[in-house]
């Protein structure tokens, strides 16, 4: 037997042991928990940022909310500022900057833009420089995007442009002052001011260099003028023969409604017969070519604008995107004053591409409009005398040359005129988040430009964007023009990307000009083929004289307009300017509306920018219905009859509540697929799609072999069979996808939306599924994904008092917590505008219109 004392002692020992075990376990748990918390608090794990700085409510992501509103009174010091500057933010959060010198105005512009759009500034810079991999995340897709971007040589070109700038030049002073302003904001940022996105990415903002403005200008060139058309055209030739390829991707638009008026009071349809396809057995070259074709795949969570150019294929604009501008002279204006409208169409992003601003330097500058963050100037806008806007000229400014190299893998020389010339080499290192080298590339340059991989050979690329000087001075100087003549003179030296600028002044003058370097090519002067690089005779011979640019001033018709169409009627000037022009549907619409109105008002012009009518629909619906009538006259077809009845009931407008537009759009998709089957590879991919102007041209030839479906070997289809089959198939598809007609499922606003993605693609920071009025080829077109559209809408009346109305899809602030982040989107989707405030002085702004005041003083360096 054990005695009582032993039992008690054992119990104590057990309890002590247990207590010790609990203590040890508690300590062990504390160690593990502490270590874990510190680890996730201090370190980024995959895409999850370090939680400590992120969740910190005083300095982390929550603090962004405290910087969302503009304080009523703010003050700051900017190093280099010569004198004090007042910035008054009006009720639309537009900063009105009153400075005593141009340099101070630009410093302040840099400061206020950085305050509102710092992350956007950096994203644009990294997109051009191919430096996203330094942020980490995204894996090989981001690295691949960086590599593709650097292979274009944009950074090298920007650096060269900067080197060529005299430090005392006006350009350089603008760039430096702007950089000072941006950096003053970065240096003075409080923790709460660090933009939201940096916290999510777990990175710090980088300082701004003057060369970054040039990066941005190169990026504009990339988005608006980069093209691989020559290479794609070669693939088309391999499928259908050279003659057919030339006809389907023509140098001259078959519908002529040129920018430079040709004296006609209506469009001209040059509808000649198309040569039959010369179908060829797809050879290995095509198979390989199509496999190697640039995919422009958008990497994870990055906005397409950061990766893809405006024209990823030679099929015209991206899903029907395009810009409009027009000016109306006194003879056609209700008030007797010149009026101007402009709505450049670009990718829609949050924050928006544009930033609205008013810059005043008494006696020197009083310009209002929109700048692109990073550019020290108002790009589109007006002053007290002149208003202007741009559309993309769509000119062919890129050519490719097949080069002969001494070594395909590691070339050092290329062959020209019997001599071996050295290749310039540029080593590109791609760094990771922690500075580690992820990859190293060598980019080679001939005297023409960078070497890129073609379908079967290394091609050198010559591109005006890589040869252009800074456009900063041009953009700045147009803001100082006091007349149309001065405005035109200020843009003469502009190089790239070529733009069609429309301008009007208070004297009632209106003018339009496509401006930029248009290459003069050797031989036939065309830029549609890949040329042999072994002879220098194939090089460009120079550029068009400014005097021969597409141009018109004060035309008899009383108005001028552009919508990315072919600028000059080839019967007026047959020189090669480009190829495969965007169909002039919007130009037809604008011109028809203006021709029909002899007393245009600004209210009408605002409505025009979202006009639901479509010249394309007018022309194609008639073709569908005529075909249906002919077929139904000889045979019963209940499905076709129903489809035709439904289409007949369409008013050919893309209003939000329209219930027939979708049937037409499906019919057009079916028609395109059935008609251009000759352009498909054996794998079923279409190499390229001809413009719908060519499709309309083909309507004139009902027996053309293009209507024949290649897959049906025993029958030869005709136009009417394809049109009616397309219409019937469209009805079946529409019912299958959206239900029966007249039950609400076909409403346009249920099937077509604008989608404005944040630059990083996060849905919660984006504005998605926005119903809008307008459709493909209307004046308010949207791309198929709804990601491209009118990025800025402006109407200006140049009367005794300049008045303007404007809006854009977004808001002035880049802070997602701010009410100014997306406050204009509803207005934009509704097609409405604000009348902008354009005060002569600070005192002109009533207190009720003042949101905040920022006072800047000179600071120490």
């Amino acid at each position: 037997m054990t005695n009582t004392g032993d039992v008690a002692g054992n119990a104590v020992n057990v309890r002590a042991r247990r207590a010790k075990q609990v203590r040890v376990a508690r300590v062990a748990w504390a160690v593990v928990l502490f270590g874990g918390c510190m680890y996730v608090g201090a370190r980024r794990i995959g895409v999850v940022p370090a939680l400590g700085p992120l969740l910190d409510p005083a300095n982390g992501i929550w603090a962004v909310a405290r910087a969302a509103d503009l304080p009523r009174d703010m003050s700051a010091a900017i190093p280099g500022l010569q004198r004090g500057v007042r910035v008054v933010y009006d009720r639309r959060a537009v900063p009105h900057i009153w400075a005593s010198s141009v340099a101070d105005a630009m410093r302040t512009l840099g400061y206020v833009v950085a305050r509102d759009r710092l992350f956007q500034l950096e994203v644009q810079t990294r997109a051009t420089a191919g430096r996203f991999s330094e942020w980490g995340g995204g894996g090989s897709a981001v690295l691949s995007m960086d590599r593709q971007q650097r292979s274009l040589g944009l950074v090298r070109s920007a650096e060269r442009d900067l080197e060529q700038l005299d430090s005392a030049s006006a350009d350089m002073k603008l760039l430096a002052a702007y950089a000072d302003g941006v950096n003053a904001w970065i240096d003075g940022m409080r923790p709460r001011d660090v933009p939201f996105e940096y916290r999510i990415l777990g990175v710090r903002p980088m300082r701004w260099e003057p060369v970054y403005t040039l990066y941005l200008l190169k990026r504009m060139g990339y988005v608006l003028s980069y093209s691989t058309h020559d290479q794609v055209r070669r693939r088309v030739e391999l499928l259908i023969g050279e003659a057919a390829a030339a006809a389907l991707f023509p140098i001259n638009s078959p519908i002529q409604e040129p920018i430079q008026p040709n004296g006609l009071s209506e469009p001209r349809f040059d509808f000649g017969p198309l040569p039959d396809p010369q179908l060829q057995q797809p050879d290995q070259e095509l198979v390989v070519a199509h496999r190697l074709a640039p995919s422009f795949t958008v990497p994870h969570r990055l906005s397409p604008s950061l990766t893809a150019p405006h024209h990823p294929s030679p099929s015209g604009a991206v899903g029907g995107v395009g810009s409009n501008n027009w000016a109306v002279g006194p003879s056609r204006s209700a008030t007797g004053s010149a009026m101007l409208a402009g709505d450049p169409h670009l990718e829609l992003t949050l924050p928006a591409i544009w930033y609205e601003v008013h810059l005043v330097v008494p006696g020197e500058l009083d310009v209002y409009g929109v700048t692109i963050p990073g550019i020290p100037a108002v790009v589109i806008g007006f002053n007290r005398d002149v208003a202007w806007s741009f559309t993309n000229a769509e000119a062919d400014v890129v050519d490719y040359y097949r080069e002969v190299l001494d070594n395909d893998e590691q070339p050092t020389e290329y062959h020209v005129d019997g001599e071996w010339l050295p290749l310039e080499q540029r080593i590109e290192r791609y760094l990771g988040r922690n500075g580690e080298v992820l990859a190293v590339d060598t980019v080679y340059f001939t005297h023409r430009g960078p070497l890129v991989q073609g379908d079967h050979a290394r091609l050198s690329m010559r591109w005006t964007v890589l040869e252009g000087a800074s456009a900063t001075a041009e953009f700045f100087n147009v803001g100082r023009a006091a007349s149309v003549t001065e405005w035109l003179a200020a843009t003469e030296s502009y190089v790239a990307p070529a733009q069609t600028g429309v301008v009007a002044d208070r004297e009632g003058n209106i003018a339009i000009r496509s401006t930029g370097h248009f290459p003069i090519r050797a031989g036939d002067g065309k830029g549609t083929t890949i040329r042999a690089g072994v002879v220098s005779q194939h090089d460009w011979r120079g550029f068009w004289d400014v005097g021969s640019y597409p141009f018109a001033i004060n035309p008899e018709q009383g108005f001028l307009a552009s919508a990315n169409q072919q600028p000059i009627d080839p019967r007026v000037d047959a020189r090669y300017l480009g190829v495969n022009w965007i169909p002039p549907w919007r130009a037809l619409q604008i011109n028809a509306l203006l021709r029909a109105d002899s007393a245009v008002t600004t209210a009408e012009m605002r409505l025009m920018q979202t006009h639901p009518g479509s010249a394309r629909a007018d022309l194609f619906v008639a073709a569908f219905l005529a075909a249906a009538e002919r077929v139904l006259a000889v045979a019963d077809d209940a499905g076709l009859e129903r489809a035709a009845q439904l289409l007949t009931a369409w008013d050919r407008k893309y209003t939000k509540d329209n219930e027939r537009a979708i049937l037409f759009e499906h019919a057009m998709q079916e028609l395109v697929t059935r008609t251009w089957d000759e352009l498909e590879t054996p794998a079923g991919d279409r190499v390229a799609t001809p413009s719908q102007a060519n499709l309309l041209q083909l309507m004139e030839y009902p027996e053309s072999l293009w209507w024949d479906v290649v897959a049906t070997e025993d029958t030869v289809e005709t136009r009417d069979e394809i049109l009616t089959a397309s219409l019937e198939a469209a009805l079946d598809r529409t019912i299958e996808e959206l239900g029966p007609p007249n039950e609400g499922g076909w409403r346009w606003d249920r099937v077509r939306h604008a989608n404005i993605y944040h630059l990083l693609g996060f849905p919660s920071l984006s504005a998605l599924d926005l119903p809008v009025q307008g459709g493909p080829s209307t004046l308010n077109p949207l791309s198929g994904g709804g990601t491209h559209g009118a990025s800025w809408r402006m109407v200006v009346e140049l009367g005794p008092r300049v008045r303007a109305w404007a809006t854009y899809p977004g808001g002035q602030s880049g802070n997602p917590a701010s009410p100014r982040y997306d406050d204009r989107i509803q207005q934009w989707t509704d097609g409405e505008f604000d009348e902008v405030l354009y005060p002569h002085s600070e005192a002109d702004l009533p207190t009720s219109d003042v949101l905040a005041v920022l006072t800047l003083q000179p600071g120490r360096n």
């Binding site: 508690r26 300590v27 748990w29 504390a30 160690v31 928990l33 502490f34 918390c37 510190m38 608090g41 939680l51 400590g52 700085p53 969740l55 910190d56 409510p57 005083a58 300095n59 982390g60 992501i61 929550w62 603090a63 962004v64 909310a65 405290r66 910087a67 969302a68 509103d69 939201f196 999510i200 996060f762 849905p763 919660s764 920071l765 997602p816 917590a817 701010s818 009410p819």
Partner: protein, 121 residues
């Protein structure tokens, strides 16, 4: 929980909030560890520090809510992170609590170890 403990929690939470504002999130483990080391009168320094840290950051959240559109921010930030707003708020309070509890406990253990060594001498 005694009045003294409550007072300690409130004062410590204010200190945590202030320190976080000045030096950032590192203030939480630092202050909690110090609390664990020096608070001999507190029987449960880890619990006190944990509650104070949660309260401190909660106070900062409330202050932020009064100074800006925190609901919009929470909604957008939670969306980016793929979590609910409630989870984001809970994470913001629970993270400093866990950090402070473990840091204070380690501080307390260290203090006890030092005390034991001294008493053993």
């Amino acid at each position: 929980m005694t009045r003294l403990t409550l007072l300690q929690i409130v004062l410590l939470s204010v200190a945590v909030a202030l320190a976080t504002t000045v030096v950032g999130w590192w203030a939480v483990p630092l202050m909690a560890a110090i609390w664990g080391l020096v608070s001999r009168a507190d029987e449960r320094p880890a619990l006190t520090a944990s509650l104070a840290a949660g309260l401190g950051w909660g106070l900062l959240l409330i202050w932020t809510a009064g100074a800006g559109p925190i609901r919009v921010l929470a909604s957008r930030a939670a969306g980016v992170m793929g979590i609910s707003v409630l989870t984001l708020v809970a994470l913001t309070v629970l993270f400093p609590m866990a950090l402070a509890w473990s840091a204070a406990l380690l501080g307390e253990v260290t203090r006890n170890a030092v005390d034991n060594r001294r008493s053993a001498r």
